[in-house]
């Protein structure tokens, strides 16, 4: 990822900001200028809670360049509580048994080895939920 794009996307990467449609209330992640459902352009930024459930996952056994420091790692699709589906790395999965439908939560982590960029790319990942909300 190039530096200007990383900077532009910081709300999305750090705070899980997407869009909410003012017309049909559809919620979209990542953010878009036009609502994919009703084609309205009246969208407003919306920060997602970061809570969701694991929809699907797999394990990367041969990490590509830029990810070798992670050893093997997991990636998955997460259904956010507010609706949208997000693809992301699954953090803290070593030694845990991932299961479809398990509750997960957003964390901010380093997305790639810093050596690739010179700058450190921080962004969202999901991990098995540490504590039930309000529990």
């Amino acid at each position: 990822m190039e530096l200007p794009r990383y900077h532009r996307m910081r709300g999305t990467l750090y705070r899980l900001e997407g869009s909410a449609c003012r017309k049909c209330a559809h919620r979209i992640f990542p953010p878009r200028p036009v609502c994919p459902r009703c084609k309205a352009q009246e969208l407003e930024p919306m920060a997602f809670s970061g809570r969701g459930t694991l929809y699907s996952f797999t394990r990367v056994l041969q990490p590509p360049r830029g990810f070798t420091n992670l050893g093997t790692y997991s990636v998955g699709m997460v259904r956010l509580d507010e609706g949208p589906m997000v693809s992301a790395q699954i953090a803290d999965a070593d030694g845990t048994e991932l299961q479809i439908g398990m509750p997960v939560e957003m964390v901010t982590r380093k997305l790639k080895d810093a050596e690739e960029h010179g700058f450190i790319l921080y962004g969202y990942k999901f991990r098995p939920r540490l504590r039930a909300a309000g529990a």
Binding site: R15, L70, D92, G95, V107, R109, R131
Partner: protein, 350 residues
């Protein structure tokens, strides 16, 4: 020292990464006696995708969740650490951005060896107490550095905590007073192009840790006209289980008073995070009316001491974020030193 207006801690959050290495695996790698006495059983290590900034973000989120305040009203994010991911480029801005405190916020990284986190607490306390800010966030967090093979490698751990200072009516603990005690004492240092810090060996004990912890503690107790028995809980900087217990006993505190904050026993020394993580551990069990004594230590050298009183609000907000004990329990063992080197990024390409 007392602020012009009353100030409280409105929220707190902790963080400890999952990977743990048994200290006997470190002893084995360096050909030391595995059966010998090691300062702690295991220590926490950041996952390969974690650093001081990511750990500070999670602690900060915990503090904001417990406070329940609008993050846009936080006027300062100060991160005390000696393991900044960038030599030049603040980490505080990344934390501020992640919690939604930007752009009307002051942000910086502070350095004072292991005292940087409590230094951030003093500044945040003053920022709120002067009326300049409704809320100010102080963080102490480290992915502690130690030279491979050095005795510090057995304890240098990762973790820390965040404290959000705010108005007294939203306090989960009110700040009664604080003090700082500092002299120039070169017991531990790292120059710009050194990878690992050096320490003054025997010099680190009496003239450094004990003199300054004692100075700040006595100063604050005398200023308030109090004794150890006036407190329910106490926390000191914890480079190892022994130093912390020796100073606590010397000041008149019992094992029962320090036990919930003795995080070093479980995960090692988190440097700038250590005393703050201990305070978080105490807030996890404290009840309304409990008085808490806090004293940090940082090489270089100095100590900050705080006197706190818990309010009823603590019990109401405690469960909005994970407890220190949740993070201690959540562990991923690393049995082998080679994996530790990869994870801790100690292998450098020449």
């Amino acid at each position: 020292m007392k602020t012009a207006a009353e100030v409280g801690i409105a929220g707190y959050g902790a963080y400890i990464p999952r990977p743990r290495i048994a200290t006997r695996a470190i002893a084995r790698a360096w050909g030391r006696d595995e059966g010998g006495r090691l300062p702690v059983r295991e220590k926490s290590v950041p996952s390969p995708d974690e650093d001081t900034v990511t750990m500070a973000i999670e602690a900060a989120r915990g503090a904001v969740a417990r406070a329940g305040c609008d993050p846009g009203r936080i006027r300062a994010v100060w991160v005390g650490t000696e393991s900044k991911p960038y030599a030049v480029k603040p980490g505080g801005t990344i934390v501020a951005e992640a919690i939604g405190a930007t752009p009307w916020v002051s942000a910086a990284d502070l350095e004072f060896a292991c005292k940087a986190g409590s230094e951030a607490m003093q500044a945040a306390l003053a920022f709120v107490g002067s009326g300049m800010a409704p809320y100010a966030l102080a963080i102490g967090m480290d992915a502690a550095q130690s030279k491979p093979g050095d005795h510090l490698e057995f304890t240098a751990a990762a973790g820390g905590a965040a404290f959000l200072f705010g108005p007294p009516e939203e306090a989960l603990a009110r700040v009664e007073a604080s003090t700082s005690y500092v002299t120039d004492t070169p017991d531990f240092f790292r120059k710009q192009h050194m990878h690992y810090p050096e320490h003054g060996h025997r010099f680190t004990g009496e003239p450094s840790y004990f003199t300054h912890s004692r100075g700040a503690s006595r100063g604050l107790l005398e200023a308030l006209g109090r004794r150890a028995t006036d407190y329910r809980w106490a926390v000191f900087h914890q480079p190892n289980p022994k130093f912390m217990r020796r100073i606590a006993a010397e000041m008149g505190f019992t094992e029962a008073q320090i036990a919930p904050g003795a995080v070093v026993d479980h995960i090692g020394n988190t440097y700038s995070g250590a005393s703050l993580l201990g305070l978080a551990g105490i807030l996890d069990v404290a009840a309304e009316g409990d008085r808490i004594f806090f004293c940090s230590y940082g090489s270089g050298a100095g100590s900050d001491a705080f006197s706190l009183v818990v309010t009823r609000r603590l019990a109401e907000v405690r469960d909005r974020a994970p407890l220190v004990g949740d993070y201690i329990k959540r562990r991923q063992p690393i049995e082998d030193y080679g994996e530790y080197l990869r994870i801790a990024r100690k292998v450098r390409l020449l």
